[in-house]
């Protein structure tokens, strides 16, 4: 069982990202779960989305989880939200930021002893450059593919194309570029 927690703001696409990831993963024959804690949250409010991935059907419906991966797709939430909550000694962090890794960790005391498990990527800038809007979910998927090593990039892109099939070609291409760039740029 792999468990993933997304830290996001309502409107940034964490739910879509989590569901998109679930969709792609399901096509590899695995069982997935994607859910989020939101409801009456307004656009911009801090929220969390979750994934579970397993070989067996997933029957745990509790919200509580000890994540294997924490994906932070809003730069400010790395500072204001409790991103290390309920973590494990092997939990990996992928954080979107314009800072370099050393600068970021220097400002977040909770990450001091987890330096080798922290990865950074500027999902905001990548999404602005490729998609033209601050929708950082697609680049985060690219970074996750790289860090987790769960998939080959090509396979992932192919599956993602099918998930996005209902969108215009221009949008599909932009997402592919965003995923690829983040895959290459995550450190």
């Amino acid at each position: 069982m792999i468990e993933i927690r997304w830290h996001s703001r309502a409107g940034q696409g964490a739910v879509t990202g989590a569901k998109g990831l679930g969709d792609v993963v399901s096509r590899t024959g695995k069982q997935v779960q994607a859910f989020a804690l939101y409801g009456s949250a307004k656009r911009g409010a801090a929220m969390r989305a979750y994934n579970r991935i397993d070989d067996k059907p997933i029957i745990n419906h509790a919200k509580f989880m000890r994540p294997d991966y924490v994906l932070v797709i809003d730069p400010a939430l790395a500072f204001t939200d409790n991103i290390t909550e309920n973590d494990k000694p092997e939990t990996k962090y992928i954080i979107t930021t314009h800072l370099d890794k050393t600068e970021l960790i220097a400002q977040i005391p909770e990450l001091q002893d987890k330096k080798d498990r922290v990865y950074t990527v500027d999902c905001m800038q990548i999404s602005l450059d490729t998609i033209g809007r601050a929708i950082p979910n697609a680049p985060m998927l690219g970074a996750f593919v790289k860090v987790s090593g769960m998939f080959q990039l090509d396979e992932f892109l192919e599956s993602m194309k099918r998930v996005l099939a209902k969108f215009p070609q221009k949008i599909i291409d932009a997402n592919m570029e965003a995923i690829t760039r983040a895959y290459n740029e995550v450190k």
Binding site: G22, V32, Q33, A62
Partner: protein, 412 residues
């Protein structure tokens, strides 16, 4: 002719979308709805399917849930296949008309995405609305995950519309925990699904001008009682059709449903009885406790809340020593409703296990694996000493001083 939709062998759908797809495949003629969180996407997607040519049907916008169910009653009396969805406050506003629908024997399908009832206002899941519907004369099916929300919707049409049933059916799923949680769902093709449900066969339809009928007649003390008794009998007897439809569904899909689901109960010493997504979490807790502590734990869950599986409960719990019945609704001045019904069933048995009641998960409060394990362990404690050492009603996951009510009387 509606367009067909190509579906993958496995889709990643949340409970709401799974239910909406089932409504599409059933080719529901009319949905009259007043959308409310967390059930909104069900009727929203129905509307989109109609607009995009995937359903030959009509989405009727109304000004309240009372009007939504009234519109459904009208359309069903006219002779159409009808469905809608609601939650919480919307459900409460619908209640008056729910009794009309069942009394008129109109097989409307209502997706109830369970949500807490205000005040205080809360959009998340508990079973307050489901419980409020339990005397309304509807069949109530309970889905524990998105796949089941899809499957049970398909079954609901076939059950409710059966000529020997002709009763409205609610399909319940937990708000957010099921409705907004995407999981692997294995759908049927459009043709397979429709063939399973079959064409709608109207009964006493008002649009049959050769046979004018009156709906909603007034009956005073000379007739009312007989009509209600006949309706109750129909609901009680509907289990035969429910069993048959579940068997046909298993034949078609391999997925088995029972009116009372029992997990790991063959040798269970302690058990949890619950409803909704909690059932699966409790099952995972039971599996882990069996492995880690050798605790023989099992789970029993009414798949069909109405008609209540009285005999099946009595038999399923015949060999356990201690049972915790979990109610995700605050009973306000009494023991939990599920506790009362399970206890009543066990009172009709020579074997009476120790039964306690837990209130939990109100307003969407998380029910974790550890919460479930703590309850199992406590039941094991009762089983070992042979009496209930705690208050009969307790509260799981509640902040503040321990709250509990009533105690077991041990001597005469």
């Amino acid at each position: 002719m509606a367009e067909k939709m190509e579906l993958n062998e496995v889709e990643v759908w949340d409970g709401n979308y799974a239910a909406a797809q089932a409504l599409r495949q059933a080719q529901v003629d009319v949905v009259a709805a007043y959308p409310i969180t967390p059930s909104t996407p069900i009727v929203e997607n129905y509307g989109a399917f109609v607009a995009n040519g995937y359903i030959d049907g009509e989405f009727v916008m109304v000004e309240s849930e009372h009007a939504a169910m009234s519109g459904c009653v009208g359309a069903a009396a006219a002779g159409g296949r009808v469905a809608t969805a609601t939650s919480s406050q919307g459900f409460m506003l619908m209640i008056e008309v729910l009794y009309q629908a069942s009394g008129m024997r109109l097989p409307i399908i209502l997706n109830v995405v369970n949500r807490a009832i205000a005040s205080p206002l809360n959009v998340r899941g508990d079973h307050g609305d489901m419980y409020a519907g339990r005397d309304s004369g509807w069949i109530q099916l309970d889905a524990f995950n998105a796949q089941e929300a899809y499957d049970l919707n398909l079954c609901a049409f076939k059950i409710g519309e059966d000529i020997n049933v002709r009763l409205p059916v609610m399909v319940h799923q937990d708000g957010f925990l099921t409705s907004h949680t995407a999981q692997n769902v294995y759908p049927l093709s459009d043709d397979e699904a429709y063939a399973f449900i079959g064409d709608y066969k109207p009964v006493d339809e008002m649009l049959d001008f050769t046979r004018a009928v009156t709906y909603g007649a007034q009956t005073e003390e000379d007739w009312h009682y007989e009509h209600k008794a006949k309706q109750h009998r129909a609901l009680m007897d509907s289990y035969t059709v429910i069993d048959r439809v579940f068997a046909e569904f298993k034949e078609k899909t391999g997925r088995e449903y029972k009116r009372l689901e029992s997990y790991l109960m063959e040798d269970a010493e302690v058990a949890i009885v619950a409803l909704g997504s909690t059932v699966e979490t409790a099952l995972l807790a039971a599996k882990q406790l069996r492995e880690s502590e050798g605790l023989k734990a099992g789970v029993v869950a009414p798949r069909v809340f109405r008609p209540f599986p009285f005999n099946e409960i009595r038999d399923a719990l015949a060999n356990v020593k201690a049972v915790a019945v979990l109610d995700r609704s605050c009973p306000m001045g009494a023991m939990g409703a599920l506790f009362n019904e399970v206890s009543a069933a066990m009172y009709a048995s020579p074997h009476r296990p120790l039964i306690t009641n837990f209130i939990y998960g109100l307003g969407g409060r998380d029910f974790s694996l550890e919460d479930a394990k703590a309850i199992f362990r406590e039941q094991k404690g009762h089983a070992d000493v042979g009496y209930i050492t705690t208050p009969l009603q307790q509260f799981s996951g509640l902040r503040g001083p321990k709250l509990g009510f009533y105690e077991m009387k041990r001597s005469k």
